[in-house]
Symmetry: C3
């Protein structure tokens, strides 16, 4: 019974803070100004700029790439015999398929028909030079050498004027010389290669309807076979010229092609799913070089791979080229009541803070601070309640006094 | 001394807002109701639904896959001679090892023993047809051609009734024809291939103890060799039949296998680490097709790769197939006092907001608003404090008046 | 006009809550203490520990790796003839190039010159053994078999004492035997291989200036060719010995090398961009084994790949080895006014909460609670305003009474 009364009391009594209403131009304006700041922060930044009324979810994506083109190097007479040939994508794209990336060979060093055996170490290898077999400990291999020493000291095949240790290795040893020297890549024609990037995205958080790809719905086959991506002219064509990509990334293709490098192709999908999906959710491509051209060790990007014609006979290929890494980023945004409520709530809570700041100012930094203290504060002595009420600083008597 | 007094004053004075306690059924219930809303939001959404009392950390993972199976195509007499053979995983999984992904060849076009030389361009290539050598500019290559033109115009090998430009290329040119036509894949038997997916996860944020794998601790070798994953019957078996995966993703294997595609296998680890780890932290698999079957250019997934039998002799393989991408997602949650405090705090702050809303209503939209204004507000004239106190709207005299 | 007046009223009136100022040691100290807790939480945790005054952005990264070394296995006489050879990186790194990962073969099983044909199934395959052709259904293949059965039952090549089904397969069938047995890997010398990890990072959110790599600016070529990473001695050398990495991950190289495994190399870039970038933003390397050595099925990491010497002749290689996965993590932090404001604001809002807690205590759990109620609350009857003001619990008359 008493319990019920307590509850009804609790239920039917409304609590609201007593508020002192001060008429004062200065203070009023100050207070309103601070509130305005907070309000504009909430509305402007939290709501509009940060989309506080929307729920966010990351994009999920799959990428499929297809490179097209052929390079023909017979025309140039400076090119060594072995490099005068036709190159198609199967020759130049290694590995043939990668996840969200592809590599195009732009410069190459081929060492055909290596077999396991004994031959002279590369004179450039530190420690390869010798004057007597003592320098070449059998079975040991040099730090960055190409094989294990046989223990013999023989004239170098590469440069017969010097003696080097003989090694067990894949012979002949690779001669690390660019076919066209260091100022032109062998496969400059790869500049004209094109890559078709098919990017499929979805926002599973918001349901099955939000799936699309980077090919516009009005694109027909002929268009896709002829178009080339261009930031201004054709920003939604999924076919990219290699040279274009490189220059969009702010690099010079010929320079980059000599020693290779890493280019990142970013596809951004920042979509407001409250608008028409297919109409307004479109990819934005950006390009940047990821590696550092000025590194002082092993600049660029290259790797060796071999074709094993027989168990004991291979062709060693050192491929320099451009690795393209495709990263798909972005977020989908959709209206949701919960974040909206949360942001409004914490915004209002923040509004209360302005009073704290404003009080601090008027209670300590204004001429009338005594007066304000007097009206804002009600002083009570908790030590002995029976005592007469205290005087306020403003010299006015407080509650209960008369 | 005075400084000390000021400090003791500051320390021994407690400030609490003066509160007006109004007995009113309507208003009381309104206020309580609003508070209830906020409370249920805090408890229900922030705490329970969003696990506001727990700290979150993403899962770290490593994936190892192993595909098993053999396909045998001698049985079918419609199959061209060259395609009648045994295929094992080394033939069909290209590249042999990938990070968090694997590719299974389901349809294939083989062009054996290509050599670099001169032969007739594929008539289907746009611009390959010619009536005179003038149409074929030596050294130039067609946009999507297979090589560089020699300058001669010769009858086509593929279709002798037409003349095409002769090209320097890997000859013979690939004939882009499916061994079993466009309604059946050559390697339909790959449907029965199985893949073992080993997924190792951990939550380093929460210490070394939280490491596990997707193989249950009670799984023995015989079970793992015989079981197949099935959402209902066997949701924790790490061995998947290829056809099953495809159908779980809502696709028809035979259809998909003809031109290939991309299937994403998601492994979700959303674990409450406050519960028993091995017991309750279990993977949930989901499957979806990532690429778009209805794209109007180069549908599906295929790529070319070559086996170089000699420097100048290769077998070109065009592989159509299914690329499986494995994505491991999920978060670990563990009780942590700090987020708990933070959420409770901001929740209470939010509670204060209800009063703002409620005041707004009773002060502007109730019959008794004048009365409420009178009791809630204390009007003071900050311009000339000496003046007599102001009248409140409620017609009652305010503080100090008597 | 009235509208204008209303606005000026709104503008020139300042609202501030009426505050009861109670002099009481106990209560005062309690209140201050609670405030102190919240303050220390805001300052200590939100601001200092969680860097509440800074904006965060994830690092963007590109990784380039280069493995160096040669292994020579002629020295050991226990090694079967075929495995006595020189191995260079092109032989041991498969695939030759990967994204953010590389694989080093540490143990290997080679089956040279396989051709497609008919031979006896591996007796270890479940179901391979037979006493009559009835056991071998033509065209069918065993679950984990190597080919499709011919229908004949013949003596096994591997072990002539038993009869097994003949199969169409790549013959001869691989014999799954380690060259050096199960307690030593063939390619133990790979322990001395080194890998150069070039990691380029940037924080695009904060502008172009924040780009760097994991090679220190004062590192010269000779240093980079000679140095080896070591947590204590040389924490910024980008060259790692394979054996070192494995032992840093807490594993024994020889043990790991036999069956292979997965090692994760984490590079952490947690940078305070308010400090000098090149000076203080440095990588921290950590190493861990990702796979589970105690798994009860297919432990370690291995895969098969083949070199096709001819269309119908290949060398099958089963590579056991260590897959190194490089993950680049980390965040850049930079001062930003907005998060700072936000955190201060919500902090102050949180301060208000202390009063709620404190009031709760003094109004319900202190001897003087009646008195506190009396001074804090102003009771008004909203039901009939005309009625005389109510008595407060403290027995004091409230506002307006006299």
């Amino acid at each position: 019974m008493g319990c019920f009364k307590a509850f009804s009391n609790f239920l039917f009594w409304y609590e609201t803070p007593k508020v002192v209403h001060i008429r004062s131009k200065k203070v009023g304006i100050l207070g309103r100004f601070l509130q305005l700041c907070v309000l504009s922060y909430i509305v402007g930044y939290v709501m509009v700029y940060n989309k506080g009324y929307q729920e966010f979810a990351n994009v999920e994506s799959a990428v499929v790439t297809k490179v097209k083109g052929v390079a023909f190097t017979n025309t140039n007479k400076n090119i060594p015999e072995i490099y005068r040939r036709i190159w198609d994508t199967s020759d130049l794209i290694v590995p043939p398929s990668e996840n969200d990336a592809f590599f195009i060979t732009t410069n190459i060093i081929i060492t055909p028909n290596q077999t396991r055996g004994a031959c002279s170490e590369d004179p450039d290898v530190y420690g390869a030079l010798c004057d007597s077999p003592q320098n070449c400990i059998r079975g040991q291999s040099l730090p960055i050498g190409n094989g294990a020493m046989t223990g013999r000291c023989i004239p170098s095949d590469a440069n017969s004027s010097v003696n080097v240790c003989e090694i067990f290795a894949w012979c002949p040893i690779e001669q690390d010389i660019f076919p066209l020297g260091t100022d032109r890549p062998l496969l400059e024609e790869t500049a004209d290669f094109t890559v078709l990037i098919k990017n499929f995205i979805e926002f599973p958080t918001f349901g099955k309807t939000f799936r699309r790809r980077n090919i516009m719905k009005d694109a027909n086959k002929t268009y896709l076979q002829s178009c080339h991506y261009n930031q201004e002219r054709d920003p939604f064509c999924p076919v990219f010229r290699i040279e274009d990509i490189v220059s969009f990334a702010g690099e010079n293709f010929t320079q980059l092609a000599i020693r290779g490098g890493v280019i990142v192709i970013s596809i951004d999908w920042n979509c407001n799913l409250d608008l028409d999906f297919l109409e307004f959710c479109k990819p934005i491509y950006s390009f940047r070089r990821a590696d550092d051209p000025n590194t002082n060790i092993a600049p660029g990007w290259n790797f060796r791979h071999a074709n094993y014609h027989e168990e004991n006979r291979r062709t060693l290929v050192k491929s320099y080229g451009i690795r393209f890494v495709i990263e798909v980023r972005g977020q989908g945004r959709k209206f949701n009541i919960l974040p909206t409520m949360l942001n409004i709530g914490s915004g209002l809570a923040l509004l209360g803070v302005t009073t704290v700041v404003c009080d601090f100012i008027i209670l300590y930094f204004t001429k009338k601070r005594m007066f304000y203290k007097g009206v804002k504060y009600l002083l009570v002595d908790g030590e002995d309640p029976e005592r007469a009420p205290l005087q306020t600083e403003a010299g006015m008597t407080t509650y209960g006094s008369n």
